[in-house]
């Protein structure tokens, strides 16, 4: 009896320690990355970094304003493609799809999700860059947008399916049509999850470099409109990190830090906006 109790307590302590340790490691990695980024790139972080164009090699100072704006534009385009298609497709799969068709679509999107990002880049390259004969913001946005579709579709579907049947029935019992119930009750109930899914998705593609290398390419100057090559933060990091200049390395770290902060900021803002307006189940 006593021995059993001691054994049980020991197992409990070990398991508790183990899970705690793993959680600590996970958080630790994040803290380490952010800390290291700031430590290595913090010195180059100043007002110029956000407002100035890159300077020619050897000239110190300058910034990455064009890359920050370029990334924002590419991500905006990507969201305009990836979010509506993923969201509406997810609604269809969860609510109207029957059984066979969703199975096929789900399988295909899982495959698409597994396609290496560089292959998606080649696809956008062939589809847009080759016919137009030049790199562009559009091509970069297209590549990242395609990458967003599978995850926004699947996460929308999963969160809609998680809404209890009783919620739909409640709406229909009041005379709402199925479509109306979906629009006014089911989607709002799943909204927090759906937006979180989209945010994570956006954060993931925000750091993609490979598909941008031969779609949006890069640019040392501003890129007006959507039809010209543009600098983006990940490609900038890549270019600066492999260059043989000390100053560029520091700027690459700063760019990494900025990229992470921007993703984080968008995430926090979206969640705040949601919790302000929403009435979520607890």
């Amino acid at each position: 009896m006593d021995r059993l109790l001691i054994r049980r307590k020991a197992v409990n302590a070990v398991m508790l320690g183990l899970t705690g340790l793993c959680a600590l490691i996970a958080v630790g990695v994040l803290v380490f990355i952010v800390g290291y980024l700031f430590y290595s790139g913090g010195s180059s972080l100043n007002w110029n970094f956000f407002t100035k164009l890159p300077t020619p090699v050897g000239e110190s100072g300058g910034g990455m304003a064009n890359a920050i704006l370029g990334s924002a534009k590419v991500l905006l385009l990507a969201s305009l493609i990836g979010v509506p298609i993923g969201f509406l497709g997810g609604v269809y799969l969860a609510e109207f799809g029957g059984t066979t068709f969703p199975f096929v679509v789900r399988y295909m999107t899982d495959l698409l999700n597994g396609v290496p990002s560089i292959v998606i880049g080649i696809f956008a390259f062939t589809l847009i860059v080759l016919p137009q004969k030049h790199f562009s913001t559009l091509a970069g946005g297209m590549a990242l947008g395609l990458m967003m579709i599978p995850i926004s579709l699947r996460s929308t579907e999963e969160f809609l399916r998680a809404v209890p049947v009783s919620m739909r029935e409640g709406a229909m019992a009041l005379g709402a049509t199925k479509t109306r119930a979906i629009v006014t009750v089911v989607v709002p109930a799943a909204m927090q999850g759906i937006v979180t899914g989209i945010m994570l998705n956006l954060a993931r593609v925000a750091g993609e470099t490979a598909p941008l290398l031969f779609t949006s390419f890069g640019n040392r100057f501003w890129s007006p409109g959507w039809g010209q090559p543009t600098a983006t933060l990940p490609v900038m990091i890549f270019t600066y990190a492999i260059a043989p200049y000390e100053d560029w390395h520091r700027q690459a770290w700063s760019a990494g830090f900025v990229l992470l902060s921007l993703v984080f900021a968008v995430n926090v803002i979206a969640r705040l906006a949601l919790s302000r307006g929403g009435h979520q189940r607890r």
Binding site: P164, E169, G170, M172, A173, A176, K178, A189, H279, Q280
Partner: protein, 275 residues
């Protein structure tokens, strides 16, 4: 209580198939089912149910779990149609009108439903109650305000929520949420209200409030309540139907069902000798 003893004794206990079991005399019927069969795919869940629900009274449906009470209830507003591969056979009349010929949203407005687990929408208290009105096209702001208040009063919830109408419905307690769902159903002024074990997730105090509410409501609204709690049926219901394995074994005034049931199965069940 309008039903006097002589009416109770006049109740026809006609066990013959096809003839609705109903109180014979003065009472009119809000809902009448005749030889109603129901199928989930190939599984036959209801066998020839003939029952009439008296107007302006509380009718309780009792019986062991899985005997088809919810299934029967969900035929009365055709809620089963949301479940694929289901089929109902037979006739149902709502105020002598073929229920299957009534346009669905009109039917659902006339016959409201409250579910076992309270299911408020992720909206404010006000928007929850206003939902049915908006769906049915009553969007006038002043009328909305008025009917929301009236419905919350009818559901005995107004005093508790009048200062926080625009807070989330999830800020309410379980019992309040269930009364909110009742208010929501009442907002469209249904003629009948179907309650599927509305108290099964509530504590005794919240349950007592809802029972009291039911007794008030029946003056304006015919009520059918499914319950696994026989004391509850005895407390609130004027009439009680006993279901077993998809069949309606007996339907009569509550007193008769609990004191002098005609069928052996009913007696076994209400005296707790069942199974």
């Amino acid at each position: 209580m309008s039903t006097n003893v002589s009416t109770l004794q006049n109740l026809a206990i006609d066990m013959q198939k096809g003839v609705p079991m109903k109180p014979a005399a003065e009472t009119s019927a809000k809902l009448v089912t005749t030889d109603l069969n129901f199928y989930y795919g190939k599984f036959k869940a209801l066998h020839g149910i003939s029952l009439s629900v008296p107007t302006g009274a509380v009718t309780a449906l009792i019986g062991p779990s899985g005997c088809g009470k919810s299934t029967f209830l969900r035929t009365l507003n055709r809620m089963y149609e949301t479940v694929p591969l289901t089929r109902a056979e037979g006739a149902i009349l709502l105020d002598n009108e073929d229920l299957f010929a009534i346009e669905l949203s009109a039917l659902r407005r006339r016959v409201g439903m409250v579910f076992q687990r309270s299911n408020p929408f992720p909206k404010s208290i006000f928007d929850n109650v206003a939902y049915g009105l908006r769906v049915n096209g009553f969007a006038n702001k002043a009328t909305l305000q008025e009917s929301v208040e009236q419905s919350l009063r009818r559901a005995a919830l107004w005093d508790e929520v009048k200062d926080k109408l625009h807070e989330s419905a999830y800020s309410l307690s379980g019992g309040q949420q269930q009364r909110l769902c009742i208010a929501r159903a009442l907002a469209v002024n249904p003629e009948a209200l179907l309650l599927d074990e509305p108290c099964s997730a509530l504590d005794p105090i919240a349950t007592a409030k809802i029972e009291e509410l039911i007794l008030h409501l029946k003056r304006t609204c015919t009520i059918v309540i499914v319950t696994h709690n026989m004391q509850q049926a005895a407390r609130v219901a004027d009439y009680t139907g006993f279901f077993l394995l998809g069949k309606l074994i007996e339907f009569n005034a509550t007193k008769i069902i609990f004191q002098t049931p005609a069928q052996k199965e009913t007696e076994d069940y209400v005296t707790g000798r069942f199974g």
